[in-house]
Each structure stands twice: as structure tokens, then as C-alpha cells.
């Protein structure tokens, strides 16, 4: 548990004099005169290009300093959206996004987005205004104990107390957010600190010395793991979101292909391995494919990289990969043996450790029979769906049409619920950082603000599609005003069944069909609502309108919304009931 050394006197090594605002143009560079300008210089030094936020009293000094900055600020309609947009920006760029909010309600509105980033290990820096230091603790107007509220959902948070050091604090918080296992950090900025005089420029952004991760796995452990890989008969790779965050996609793909080991991903790991590859069994877990869940149930060696074995992946732990030895590669030692015991723990950076394993493995495991078995399962449990004429539009069909109409590098964002599962099941992902969703926290409403952030982050020639549900769309629909104001080219496909569909599915399966508080029976006309916002809107009810409308919406250079009225009776399968055995996934409701 020992961490990195500190210098003998306990002081940080960084020399405050060494800092130069290198990200700013020397011709126009103006030295900081107060804490806020130092904060903005710290962001600029770190190469921050965009920030998402909402104005308000206590954060006004920071916004005032942004006035002269080249950082693109996107004014959001709600702070939750600011956090999600910054989160998604970070996912697409693979570096921390930045969001801002004022004290009190501004800060508490960020909380859901910060918690979401925390659960999905997304780098995020939140800057919150705070009442002046001498009023803290007096229950002042718009005062909330923001560091107290956010302590459990951040890697670390800071209460800035000095205009001379606030820039360095912000730099450290940003560096920490992206270091090792990424996650959210927050700096609470009292107004007297941001307004306070200083001529101190922030130094280079360094993460704290007490948090330095281990990048290289211990070689004896690597050698042992290599031996069991060579000897395995039914080896299986499990790629989590950590593979993408560690920028280890190339190493991961090459490792699987060189050794001929089938691949299952987690949901956040979608895109780490091409889903159209023969070795790929797509993602495992509650609504994962039957073949992924068969493979994970029958493997004798699970090589898990960058995953925390969430309960939606494992189902009941007693039946999770019950006969497998587990090699677990993770940069966070606390994830090793937390939920599933690692027989071979490899603490380190995913790409580095995969390279170490690649060097240490002398021959590929003899797994031809196992690969055939996995292909047999692909045949046995196809993700096919019927499109009967006597029933309304199937959501799976809509997802497939959208996928076919767009390029491989299209970014897909979603909310949470049935639509999210259909999107992840029926869209064939082949590239990392194209699947942007809320996994661990399961935040309905994530999709639309995430599309705003993803749009700002993505290349201009990349499409951004938000596949949403009617319930999720309504939760953060105000973000549409941002997309219109900022002229963002995003396409929203609402899979509208006028239900909180996943809850309705569970009520039908586990609560004798008592559809309490899940049945809307009525929704706003989303196409007309989109037009009222200044976006384009369409409504689609039948199969023959789908492809043309999708083409039209994608071609429109601006925000567009297609309200797909889908079969309200459609359910998500396969399904492993909560705590159930992955291998006993249900294919229909009567198997639950």
C-alpha cells in the first residue's frame, strides 16, 4: 500500500516559479491579476479546449475570467447537463472534460453527473462557485457544503483557500482526474479566493504525489499468468472500459488475435474489439448476448482487463465463471479481488501489462475446439427478431437502420433503459469511443446532454446520434435548446413506447403486471416539441418511413429529432435476472 515518495520536507516538488502560461499566445498573454484568472490560466496550460456550465452568483468571477479566454464555453440549460456533456466530451477525447456551476443549487445539480462519471471512471473536473470564505458555515444564500456532498463521489475534492495557489489546485485536480483510473475531481471556489488579488501564475499541472499509480505489473505474476494462458483449454478475454481509457485498444486487439482467444466485452468496453470480428462475442451480462454469457459461464481461464466486475456483468457471483481461474489486469489495486477473486492479479496499465503478457507467452493456447464452440453458440443464440406485420415498429429495426446509414466512427449516445439495451445490442460497434452511455449509475437523461458534449468533442465529419427513450428524453430535454443555440449537428432517435419501458418489463415479469407509475399512455409530440425548440422534427410509425426519415435527419445540418413510435409490448432479451446465473439467461418472458 505504500505510495510514491514525497520529498523529505513534505513539500510538493513543483516550483511555483517554473510555471509559464505556455498554452497562451505570448503576444496577447496577460498575467493573472486575481484567483479566477489564475484558474483559467491553469486550464489553458493543461490544453483545455472546451468547458460546459451554467452561470450564477458565486461562479461569476470565474466566468468573467473566461471572457478573454480561447476556451470554448458551452452554456448549458441545466447543470446536470453540463456535467454529462463534459463527461461525454471526455469519453470521446479520452481526457477529462470540464464543467462549471455556481454554489448551492448549481453544485447540487452537478451531483448526478459527477456520480455518473465516478461510477464509469470518466475523467471530469467540476469547478463550483462558493460563498465567500468568511460566510462559509453561516447558511449563507446559495451555500451548500459542496466538498462534503461530493466527497463520496469524487476521486478527491478541494476547497480552495488562497488566490496564490488556486491555479495550482485546479491544475492538480485536472491532472488527478485523468491519472491512472480516471474519475471526477472538484474544486470549490469561494468568491473571495477567485476575486482575491494574485500575480502568481499556476505551474505545470501535476497530480498529487500520494496518488501515483503502478503502471508495470510485477514480472513474477506476469510469468505465472503467461503459463496458465498457454495451458488453458477454454480461455476467454474480457475487455472492460479500462482498455479504452488506457488507450490500449491496439494492444488488446493484437493480443486476442495473436493468441486466438475469443473476446467478450463489458458494456463500457464496447468498441474495444470490433463486434463484427469472428473472435468477438459482443458484451456479457444482464442483457448481453447469449453467446457471450455462455462463453463466460464455461471458460476455464478468464483474462479480464480493465473491468470492475459489476453485478450487472456477473449476475450472481456464485455462478459467475464458476470454473475459471481469473487473471485480472487493472490499474486500481482496490478492484483486484473486490467482487471476484483474482487468481493472478496484475496491477498496472492495461496496454503495458498486455505487452508484458505478450512477451511472456511463448505459445498460443490450444483453443481451436473452444473457438468452434463459441461460434456454435453464436449460431444457437442469434440476436434475430421478428417484424410481424400485425405489430408496430420494432425498435431493433430502427437501431439497425441507423447503424447502416452511418459510418463506423459515428458516436452513439444513449439514455438508460430499454432503448439503451437495444442500441448496444443491435448497433455493431467497431471503434473505441463511439459508444457513450451511462453504465454504472444508470442515469436516465444522460443521452441528450452527452450528445452535446460528444458533438463538441468529435471531429466535424463524425456523425453524432443520440438513441433515447421517451422517459430519458423528457428528463433532460432542455439540452435541446443548447444544441439549437450552438447549431450542433446531432440526430436524436427517440424510441418511444410511452412507458418507462424497462420498469414496465420488470413489472410484467416480477410484479404480476402491476404497471405502477411506469405507464404514461401519453407523451408530448416530440417532433412538434423539437420544432418549437428550433430543431427539425419527424414522427415515424411504420417500417416504410424509417430509412428515408433517417437519411433526411442525418442530412440536416443541425439538431434533429425523430420520434419513433415503437411496439410498446417489445421487451429486451436475453435477460439474466438480477443475481441469476449468466448461463441461464432467459430468451422470452416465460423463461424468467
Amino acid at each position: 500500500m505504500s505510495k510514491q515518495a514525497r520529498s523529505p520536507d513534505g513539500e510538493a516538488d513543483a516550483d511555483p516559479e517554473a510555471g509559464t502560461a505556455d498554452a497562451t499566445d505570448p503576444e496577447t498573454f496577460e498575467p493573472a491579476t486575481n484567483g479566477s484568472e489564475s484558474v483559467i490560466h491553469a486550464l489553458e496550460n493543461a490544453g483545455v479546449e472546451a468547458a460546459f456550465g451554467v452561470q450564477g452568483g458565486a461562479i461569476m468571477p470565474v466566468y468573467d475570467a473566461l471572457y478573454h479566454s480561447d476556451i470554448r464555453h458551452v452554456t448549458m440549460a441545466h447543470e446536470q447537463g453540463a456535467a454529462h456533456a463534459a463527461d461525454a466530451f471526455g469519453v470521446v477525447r479520452n481526457g477529462p472534460g470540464v464543467c462549471l456551476a455556481t454554489s448551492g443549487p448549481g453544485a447540487t445539480n452537478l451531483v448526478t453527473g459527477i456520480a455518473d462519471a465516478n461510477m464509469d471512471s470518466d475523467g471530469l473536473l467540476a469547478l463550483t462557485g462558493q460563498v465567500p470564505s468568511d460566510m462559509v458555515g453561516s447558511d449563507a444564500f446559495q451555500e451548500t457544503d459542496t466538498t462534503g456532498v461530493t466527497a463520496p463521489i469524487t476521486k478527491h475534492n478541494y476547497f480552495a483557500d488562497d488566490p496564490d495557489t488556486v491555479g495550482d489546485t485546479v491544475g492538480e485536480a485536472l491532472a488527478l482526474a485523468g491519472e491512472g483510473r480516471p474519475g471526477p475531481t472538484l474544486v470549490d471556489l469561494p468568491k473571495d479566493v477567485t476575486l482575491g488579488d494574485t500575480d502568481t501564475e499556476p505551474g505545470p499541472a501535476e497530480p498529487p504525489e500520494t496518488t501515483r499509480p503502478q503502471y508495470v505489473a510485477d514480472q513474477p505474476n506476469v510469468d505465472e499468468a503467461a503459463d496458465v494462458i498457454e495451458a488453458a483449454e477454454r480461455p476467454l478475454l474480457l475487455f472492460g472500459g479500462g482498455v479504452i481509457k488506457a488507450d490500449a485498444v491496439e494492444e488488446a486487439r493484437s493480443f486476442a488475435r495473436t493468441l486466438g482467444i475469443p473476446v467478450v466485452t463489458t458494456m463500457p468496453g464496447i468498441g474495444s474489439f470490433p463486434e463484427d470480428d469472428d473472435l468477438c462475442l459482443s458484451w456479457a451480462g444482464m442483457h448481453g448476448t447469449g453467446y457471450a454469457n455462455m462463453a463466460i459461464t464455461h471458460t476455464d481461464l478468464l483474462i479480464a482487463v480493465g473491468t470492475r466486475f459489476d453485478d450487472r456483468l456477473t449476475g450472481g457471483v456464485d455462478t459467475f465463471a464458476p470454473e475459471a481461474e481469473v487473471i485480472h489486469v487493472d490499474i486500481d489495486p482496490a478492484e483486484i479481488s473486490k467482487n471476484v477473486r483474482a487468481d493472478y492479479p496484475l496491477i498496472g496499465d492495461a496496454g503495458t501489462v498486455l505487452d508484458q503478457l505478450d512477451d511472456a507467452v511463448d505459445r498460443a493456447p490450444d483453443a481451436a475446439g473452444w473457438r468452434d464452440q463459441c461460434l456454435t453458440w453464436k449460431e444457437a443464440y442469434p440476436m434475430d427478431y421478428a417484424t410481424p406485420d400485425d405489430e408496430p415498429l420494432k425498435p431493433q429495426f430502427v437501431v439497425e437502420v441507423l447503424d447502416e446509414a452511418t459510418a463506423d466512427d459515428t458516436v452513439v449516445t444513449t439514455g438508460v433503459g430499454q432503448h439503451q439495451m437495444w442500441a448496444s445490442q443491435y448497433w455493431t460497434f467497431t471503434e473505441p469511443r463511439t459508444w457513450v452511455s451511462s453504465h454504472g449509475l444508470g442515469t436516465m437523461g444522460y443521452g441528450l446532454p452527452a450528445a452535446v458534449g460528444a458533438r463538441i468533442a468529435a471531429d466535424d465529419d463524425q456523425e453524432v446520434v443520440c438513441i433515447d427513450g421517451d422517459g430519458s428524453f423528457l428528463m433532460t430535454i432542455q439540452s435541446l435548446s443548447v444544441a439549437v443555440r450552438e447549431e450542433l449537428d446531432i440526430t436524436v432517435a427517440v424510441l418511444n413506447n410511452e412507458y418507462i419501458g424497462m420498469v414496465r418489463q420488470w413489472q410484467d415479469a416480477f410484479f404480476d403486471g402491476r404497471r405502477m407509475a411506469a405507464e404514461y399512455g401519453w407523451c408530448p409530440e416530440f417532433d412538434m416539441l423539437a420544432e418549437a425548440f428550433g430543431a427539425r422534427g419527424w414522427r415515424v410509425d411504420g417500417y416504410d418511413e424509417v430509412a428515408d426519415t433517417v437519411d433526411e435527419a442525418l442530412a440536416y445540418d443541425g439538431p434533429s429529432v425523430i420520434d419513433f413510435h415503437i411496439d410498446p409490448a417489445e421487451n429486451v432479451y436475453p435477460m439474466v435476472p438480477s443475481g441469476g446465473a449468466n448461463g441461464k439467461f432467459a430468451l422470452t418472458e416465460d423463461q424468467l
Binding site: 505510495k3 455462478t319 421478428a386 417489445e570 421487451n571 448461463g583
Partner: protein, 232 residues
């Protein structure tokens, strides 16, 4: 409305289409299921040596940065992850700005490992680890008893190497130090007088001899203060 009993499997080439709501494929009972299992701690059960871990008491020592809120960060982490904490003491070290926390927990081995790792992730935590069972450990207790039999109270206090801090007509307050067993014995002995109030500190502890108390920490002297070293 849904099928699933028609046995459409891999061997059936002339498979029917998927059901209207749901998917085709062998039903759960038609699939092979492995015999193996894991226990509640995620450990693969070895039929030869099946062992569920029992809770035990562990003394952890953490070297932390003495910054505002560090105590609440540590206690908050322990409580929100539902670990059982018996006591926590905190105090300065030979280095300005560093504090040592001694935390006593009662958990299973995997959970003790988790507590160490989760605490290790906290930014203000410099290093943390479990102390050996032979570590020097002691706790302090203040006992306030009825003052009607001062001679007897004095005798028992002497017997346990305690000190009398306050003696009045109605109450006597004594201070005792020792390991948990000694303190418990002493408290039992004082019960005859009628104990009015007790304040116990919980353990504080140091490793024996030249061993580091927290991993990587070097034994400190006045000239060469305690500091952790990079062991990675």
C-alpha cells in the same frame, strides 16, 4: 405468444424464426451448466479446501496528510462501504503536516484487504497497512467511579498501574493504560465501586523494533524525520 419450448438449437438447421417478443435458442434447462461455484466473497470454491473467511480484528496504521477534512474522508469511506470499525485514533508524527491514524476494524481477510486498498486510494493517505500481531499497542481509559471507598479504589488503581487524576467526596477518576484485555480486566475490577462514566481512546500502535509502522515508512529520528519511501 412466445415460443422457446420448440427446442430450436444449434443442431437444427431448419430453425424457425424468432418469437414475436423474445429470441430463439435453447431454453435455460436445455443448456449445459457447470458444476462449480464461487462463495459470497467471489472466491472459487475448492471442494478440497472450502473455507469461508471469518471476521477478525485488525489494527491498521495510516500515515496521512494533515489537511482539513481528512478524518471525515477516512471515516466516511469506512462507513459508506459498510466496514465495521472499532476505533480510530489520530495524532501528529515527527513530520509537520503528517498525521498517523490507528484504525481497528473487525472484518474478514478479503474485507481487511479492501479497506487497506480503498484507504490507499484517498489522496491524503500517504501509506497504509496492517500491523503485525506483535506490534506495540495500547489504549488509554478514564474511569469515574463512586468515591465512597477511596482506599479500595486506590489499591485497585495501583494494582493496574493506573493514576488517580481527580478525587472528590463523591467521585474518583482514574487513568489506566494497557492492551484491550488488561483494560477490560481493570474495568471489571472497578465495577464493585459503581462505575459512573468511562472514556476509552481505542488503540494506538507502533510496529516493533526497526519495522516500519506504515508500509514504506522509515524509522524516524529527530534529525532524520519519518518519511515514506517509494517501494514500487
Amino acid at each position: 405468444m412466445s415460443s422457446g419450448d420448440d427446442g430450436t438449437g444449434a443442431e437444427s438447421d431448419g430453425r424457425e424464426g424468432p418469437p414475436k417478443h423474445g429470441l430463439a435458442g435453447p431454453a435455460p434447462e436445455e443448456r449445459p451448466h457447470p458444476e462449480g461455484r464461487r462463495n459470497s466473497q467471489g472466491i472459487r470454491i475448492d471442494p478440497e479446501a472450502e473455507a469461508e473467511h471469518e471476521p477478525r480484528r485488525a489494527v491498521l496504521s495510516a500515515l496521512v496528510e494533515d489537511e482539513p477534512g481528512v478524518l471525515s474522508r477516512i471515516s466516511g469511506l469506512i462507513s459508506r462501504r459498510q466496514f465495521n470499525i472499532d476505533s480510530l485514533t489520530v495524532g501528529p508524527t515527527t513530520v509537520e503536516g503528517h498525521s498517523r491514524m490507528t484504525i481497528v476494524v473487525e472484518e474478514t481477510d478479503p474485507d481487511i484487504d479492501q479497506i487497506e486498498k480503498q484507504l490507499g486510494k484517498l489522496k491524503p493517505v500517504i501509506t497504509v497497512g496492517e500491523l503485525d500481531p506483535d506490534a506495540v499497542r495500547t489504549e488509554l481509559v478514564l474511569l469515574k467511579v463512586e468515591g465512597s471507598e477511596p482506599d479500595k479504589v486506590h489499591a485497585i488503581t495501583e494494582m493496574y498501574d493506573g493514576q488517580t487524576l481527580d478525587a472528590g467526596a463523591e467521585t474518583i477518576t482514574v487513568q489506566l493504560t494497557g492492551d484491550e484485555g488488561e483494560i477490560d480486566d481493570a474495568i471489571d475490577a472497578f465495577r464493585q465501586f459503581g462505575i459512573i462514566e468511562i472514556a476509552r481512546t481505542g488503540y494506538t500502535a507502533l510496529a516493533r523494533g526497526n519495522q516500519a509502522t506504515a508500509p514504506g515508512e522509515k524509522p524516524g529520528t529527530a534529525n532524520e524525520p519519518t518519511r515514506p519511501t517509494n517501494t514500487q
